[in-house]
Symmetry: C2
Subunit: 349 residues, 2 copies
């Protein structure tokens, strides 16, 4: 009950079990001990409510038993799903998870300046950051495996989806429905476009080029993330074009959702007047009946953690190995053929 009581140490267990500390250590680590001693030690440990001090053991083994992750935020579908999936894997490996949340540029600079993970983790998972050359280099000599998730970093182990292919599928779906004026809505933050964001734009462009649809830069609009006003402006820019789009491909579901809500607010029916397509296939895409491109953050998380564990055990194993995961188009009710007028126009084209 008393909260300030001293935690029992391995020596306490040893005394109670009538053996040496070494033996307790061996028992707890699963090394060979006689069954008689093992049971005595285990009982003593249970009675004392003993939990080993990672600090002390890592001091001597050099292993911290910690997997560190660097994330821009946890307040996102992607991070949540990816990190949740790590749980069982890490527990299986007897590791704990420490999270560095680095939301803005100042915190980011501080993180790279101090590199607090150094010496305090066995591996680092870096999520969805667009790192500069210097930052990557800095992580290189962190002295532990570093895995990049949702970004492709040359020569370093990375796990990501094929954003280009996904965006191409999405765009082709719209083209196949008969659209030719297809907008691309881009998210931009203080650091500029993210890796995925740029890749998805490339996929969009590739699909248009394949279909001999000329690129129109007026159809590419940008907005800050989760910014209602920015979305409204971006949609406004599209609606005020001489020839407005009949479909909008948003680089993320959240942006797509925001666009749908903006369009509905001005009585533009989705998908009758304008089709909207997202990317991510978050849970809410289903509620919104939003067509989207699915990716699996939990698969990415697991793949990254497995890579990390492999590299911890054998630093030379697969350095620089990349894992590229697939995407899947999930057609739903927010995409349909363009209005008849446009279809005529296109056909006669």
């Amino acid at each position: 009950m008393s909260p300030a009581q001293r935690h029992p140490t391995l020596a306490d267990v040893a005394e109670r079990a009538g053996v040496s500390p070494s033996t307790v250590s061996r028992t707890l680590r699963g090394l060979s001990v006689s069954t008689k001693v093992r049971s005595r030690v285990e009982e003593a440990a249970r009675e004392l409510n003993f939990a080993i001090s990672r600090q002390a053991s890592s001091l001597v083994t050099g292993r911290t038993g910690v997997m560190a992750v660097l994330v821009p935020t946890l307040d996102s579908w992607f991070m949540g799903a990816a990190l949740s999936s790590l749980g069982p894997l890490l527990r299986g490996a007897g590791m704990e998870l420490t999270v560095y949340v680095v939301p803005d540029l100042a915190e980011r600079a501080a993180f790279f300046e101090r590199l607090p993970a150094r010496r305090n983790a066995d591996a680092l998972l870096v999520f969805s950051f667009d790192l500069s050359e210097e930052e990557t280099a800095r992580l290189d000599d962190l002295g532990m495996p570093v895995i990049y998730i949702s970004q492709h970093v040359e020569g370093r182990p990375s796990v990501y989806v094929d954003d280009v292919a996904g965006a191409r599928k999405a765009t082709r779906h719209l083209i196949n429905l008969g659209h030719r004026r297809i907008a691309f809505a881009h998210t931009v933050n203080a650091r500029g476009f993210t890796f995925s964001s740029r890749e998805r734009l490339v996929g969009y462009q590739q699909a248009l080029t394949e279909a001999d649809i000329p690129l129109d830069h007026d159809l590419i609009v940008t907005t800050p993330p989760r910014d209602k006003r920015g979305t409204t402006q971006a949609v406004g820019n599209l609606l005020s074009l001489r020839e407005p789009p009949t479909a909008i491909f948003a680089e993320q579901d959240e942006l797509a959702a925001s666009i749908v809500s903006t369009l509905r607010a001005v009585q533009i029916e989705v998908p009758q007047r304008i089709s909207v397509l997202g990317f991510d296939d978050q849970l809410m895409a289903e509620w919104l009946d939003l067509s989207s491109v699915a990716q699996s953050p939990s698969d990415m998380g697991r793949a990254a953690a497995e890579l990390a564990l492999a590299l911890i055990n054998d630093p030379e194993s697969d350095r620089g190995r990349h894992v590229v995961l697939p995407t899947h188009l999930i057609p739903r009710g927010s995409t349909a053929a363009p209005p008849a007028s446009h279809r005529e126009q296109e056909r006669s084209n």
Copy 2:
């Protein structure tokens, strides 16, 4: 570059700076040293890329510099927002965040059996679990402050919103709009109803009682979380009543969203035919134009972390203190007056 190189130690820094290890330690901890020595040490540390080993220092200080959190999942709006808000606070206190994700009953049993956080953290934040007496008792002698978030635990520091008041506001809003047949949709998981869930039901019942509307247990439906089929069944049960509800108050936004999508799928217009009201006011409530009751997980996270930090510094400070945060009704387009027929009926009642 070489990943297996030995990390520099405090002694290395001392040698380079031409001082003793003690002095380096003092410098790095911000204790008083001459300005000349301070700059020499800091330069040496920078040159060697020195990062202190928490393991070693916590071994002697007894402080781990770690805030542990116990969460059922990270894949939820609430956890994401709450945990993200901890970042700056913890960094300010020089602490790291380690997360224990305990998704199911087996993992939960294992966590309480082994209590891995013991000795490896300075405080524990427990999120939205409904703990049994034994579990709470077990946490009591963890030897560190334990703060409960989004649940009210008798005699222990807890941070939560006033769910009863929030649900009452929500229900009154529907009553004020003219509804009298108001359903309550409840989420139930393997462990039964959550604390919040039960509290919200109480608020719903209180509001009905206040308005002299008789309770009808057929109007209270349950479904597992994030279960499309369960939601469909629950909605089906309501629609097949002799006197179906004109409004549904869902205990969570996600459930509300799912209900709206189920209703729309069968051409029942929201809010014209049935009003739907959620709880949480997640981001997506705005996209869906869903009326909801707002709570702030980031405020809760911050309040909890502050409490924890205070208790770490002075274990006797405010034990058992509770922080109750407010909720706010956010009326949007998913709630409206009931259809005229019902209104007549009610008026003449």
